[in-house]
Amino acid sequence: VIDVLRNEWRLVRRDAGFRILVAAYALLLAYGAAVGIAQARTRQAQIAEATADYHGRWATLREAAEVPGRVWADWRSPSLVGGSSGAAITWMELDGLSALSTGDAVRQPTLARVSIYAAGAEPPLANPLAIVGGVFDFTFVVVWLLPIAVAVAGHAVVSGDRQRGSWRLIAATTPRPARLVIARLAWPSVTLATLTIAGGVAAATLAGGFTNGAAGRLLIWIVAVLGYTAFWASVTAVVSIRTAQAPTSLLTLGLLWLVVVWLVPGLIDAATMVVHPPPNRLQGHLAERDAQRDPEVQLPKHLEAIYAQHPGWRPSAEAVAAANTPVPGGPASRDSRRVYAPARAAAEAAAPFARAEQARRVQAAALAERLSVLSPALALQALSDHAAGTSETRLAGFRGHVVDAEEVWRAFFAPRIMQLREMTRDDMRVVPTPTTYAAHVPAAALIWPMLGLLGPLAAAIVLFGRARPALRA
């Protein structure tokens, strides 16, 4: 076996076509890595910028606290501190492994503002043109182009010799032709897999390194890449054994690639849309707007609804009168309840729709992951997303984290707003600071994608075993 491997290694090293293939694949990997690294660094810069902005706003508020009686920058207003001026930020922690897969981070926010008026985080501002066809990241290269590289390198291992008429001689003179096929495919596959793994580790290191728990995620990714390479190498071997001509092998592998990488994921997407149809996004907006109609009629109702829940929040008559005395040249009223209560009512009217939308998204994502058993490409995509920390499930977790942080934030400011109570310097010191989101998806979530990768690999190996008699034909 060693002799065969050594001989094949000599042949592979001399093969100019294989060298070009490896160079082209390495170039594409490098480009995918560059995109991932740039995205990770941009994200880090954005977090730094948002943090600086937050500290800047708080410095201004503290400065304003030293100058009493400022109508427009009154730090004593809980509505102002809890709203635009003092709003906090929170973000999802992503380490260097995020450079491997953009995942859902292309359409879901990883950085969000926490304010009394916020209703969840805003989606990223990506150029539609840049995301319509998918992102060229490291995972794209592995999922889409690694199979092509393996197929191009190995499609002719048997069929090429058959076409030239030399296979009969080889089969007759080789005691175990299956081992020869394995040896012929081993070096291209090992080279491509090694290149992929080394490139991935380098990209992750350059993008910010590894945090605690990254070792486990990196291991999962390495296993996934190896499994995916082995799957395509096995499929290539089976197809090459079963076909008589190299072009036929290549065309068959091309067809399989289209089905596994493109068509099946497309069908799975369509299936998830049928099982979990997209919600009518307008309903939440209409409910929100309904709550804002007839504001003067509805305001007392909105206020009463809050006071009924929190009787201790009622302000004194003097406080109400003072807040509703117009300031020369300023707003009609500084009674921030008039803004906060309708905004809460509107947010609460829309909340059931937002929750349903969120639940539907989580269910659809879970279904897509379960269905990834049908496509090793989708399974690798899912595992790469989990390893990178950019999976739909994790981003859904972050959205929940933002909602929770907003609740804590409101719980601090709402009593002060509703009681028309001013912020004190002591209050300013104990304003809650949202934590970042560090949690990762539990290992149990990886079962379906792992099955999606290892199941087809096992099937391909079985098919290879069954195709062995054809090597003698």
Partner: protein
């Protein structure tokens, strides 16, 4: 004339041969079935999405009219929602429609982004471009051309027929042109097939929607497929072994269809990354509140405005003003806010344009990007149309913000906060209506794509025209 007749005969003979090949029929049937399924399967969703927008716009209008009695500025905060319509040709070429929000909330003191993009509802399985009619045609038509034509010239040489053919009086040039014509005829037939399917699908959406846009889409598609006809013939004539020609053409096809679109799109973000929504919003908020030196803007400005207004009307107190002061104040503050929005949104749109230039620059490497850009322009689903809609919605937003501020100023007195208006006033606002730009305007925005597409046609033409030279050795 004799030469043309001879080429025509050769083409007719090739067509007959291609028709007899069992593989050709299988490929064409599979393609037709896939195109038909995709074309018709998108119709219900498209119809219901557009119908939903019409109904939703009516609901929002009803809410606007029946919002009750309130201060006009409160109504400006209540705002309206604009819905981005699509022309029926968008069914064929959805372009960026799926990744752009369908509705845009318009209110005072803020400029938003379209929300509710269908793309957000998809799972990881739908991250790659969904199968649209256009995607199927632009991806698989070149593949069919390659599979049908990769042996068309080279195969004659491999099978040993070329020398024989050339000794019968057929020149190499006529042979190549005849085979090119045959392949082009097959390709044209396939494009015609997709046109019939597309017209049937669009007619299901709206009977009167068969217009110049559809014609333009298929004319572009034909040009694109002819580029692949030229490339296939050129490679087939130049490469001695079909075992090499096929992988080479397939590699070109994969790069063009799958690698380049992503690589080009990501190049833009790599070279010119956009800010996050939070950073973008924070920058707007900062500029709305502070001067560049970090001092609060509104405080001094407000004091100055009060004194100027009182002086203008010769009164001592705001309560004594004959106009609604809130209207004057809001006009002033909104003017500043609009300038801030304009600065930041223009910068963002410019950034997107810079990213788009990178996209177009890489389109030199494959005709797919250029034909897609032009097709999206024709179907009204490109970035230019998205920005055109955003600009139209923004003009409408400013109109109603200015109108409400003006009403506060002119219809009230004193502080201006006591004014109340009702249904009659809300009805006086026209509903938002979006007028699509003309195809000519849209196509004029894609000079680079035109140049690239023309360049590829030229390359393919030269490739075919010079192919006969590579057969002379055999001659």
């Amino acid at each position: 004339v004799r030469s043309a007749v001879s080429i025509g005969r050769l083409a007719a003979k090739e067509l007959r041969d291609l028709g007899r090949r069992p593989g050709t029929g299988v490929l064409v049937t599979a393609f037709a079935a896939l195109s038909a399924v995709v074309a018709l399967s998108h119709v219900p969703a498209f119809v219901s999405a557009e119908q939903w927008k019409v109904e939703a716009a009516a609901d929002v209008r009803e809410q606007w009219i029946t919002q009750g009695v309130r201060h006009p500025h409160s109504a400006a905060h209540f705002g309206v929602i604009a819905f981005r319509p699509r022309v029926p040709a968008a069914l064929i070429e959805p372009g960026v429609s799926d990744v752009v929000g369908q509705m845009l909330t318009l209110e005072t003191h803020t400029r938003g982004f379209p929300t509710a993009a269908p793309y957000e509802d998809r799972t990881m399985a739908g991250r790659a471009q969904p199968l649209s009619t256009s995607t199927v045609a632009l991806t698989f038509l070149p593949l069919l051309v390659i599979l049908i034509g990769y042996r068309l010239v080279g195969g004659e040489r491999e099978d040993g027929n070329l020398s024989l053919l050339l000794t019968t009086g057929t020149s190499a040039r006529r042979l190549v042109l005849g085979k090119t014509m045959a392949l082009a005829a097959v390709a044209t037939g396939l494009v015609a097939l997709t046109a019939v399917l597309d017209i049937a699908a669009v007619a299901t959406v709206e009977a009167g929607a068969i217009d110049g846009r559809l014609f333009g889409l298929h004319a572009l598609r034909l040009g694109y497929v002819l580029v692949w006809v030229g490339l296939t013939i050129a490679v087939s004539a130049r490469i001695r072994s079909s075992q090499v020609a096929l992988p080479l053409l397939l590699a070109l096809w994969i790069v063009n269809s799958f690698v380049l679109p992503r690589a080009a799109a990501s190049a833009g973000r790599l070279m010119a990354p956009e800010p996050s929504a939070e950073v973008f919003r924070a920058a707007i908020q900062r500029d709305m509140t502070y001067r560049p030196d970090g001092t609060l803007w509104v405080e001094d400005w407000s004091k100055q405005l009060v004194s100027e207004t009182l002086e203008r009307f010769g009164v001592q107190r705001i309560e004594d003003l004959p106009i609604g002061y809130a209207g004057v104040m809001l006009k002033g503050s909104d003017a500043r806010y609009e300038a801030v929005f304009e600065t930041h949104f223009t910068a963002l749109h410019d950034l997107h344009r810079r990213q788009e230039r990178w996209y177009h620059l890489l389109s030199v490497a494959g005709p797919m990007l250029a034909v897609r850009s032009l097709g999206q322009a024709v179907a009204g689903t490109d970035l230019t149309h998205v920005q055109h809609f955003s600009d139209a919605a923004e003009r409408y937003r400013r109109m109603f913000v200015e109108a409400t501020n003006h009403a506060i100023e002119t219809q009230s007195a004193g502080t201006g906060w006591d004014l109340r208006v009702g249904r009659e006033y809300w009805e006086s606002f026209p509903a938002f209506r979006y007028e699509f730009p003309t195809i000519g305007w849209a196509l004029a925005q894609h000079g680079m794509a035109w140049a690239v597409m023309s360049g590829w046609l030229l390359v393919a033409g030269i490739g075919v025209a010079t192919s006969h030279r590579h057969l002379r050795g055999t001659e």
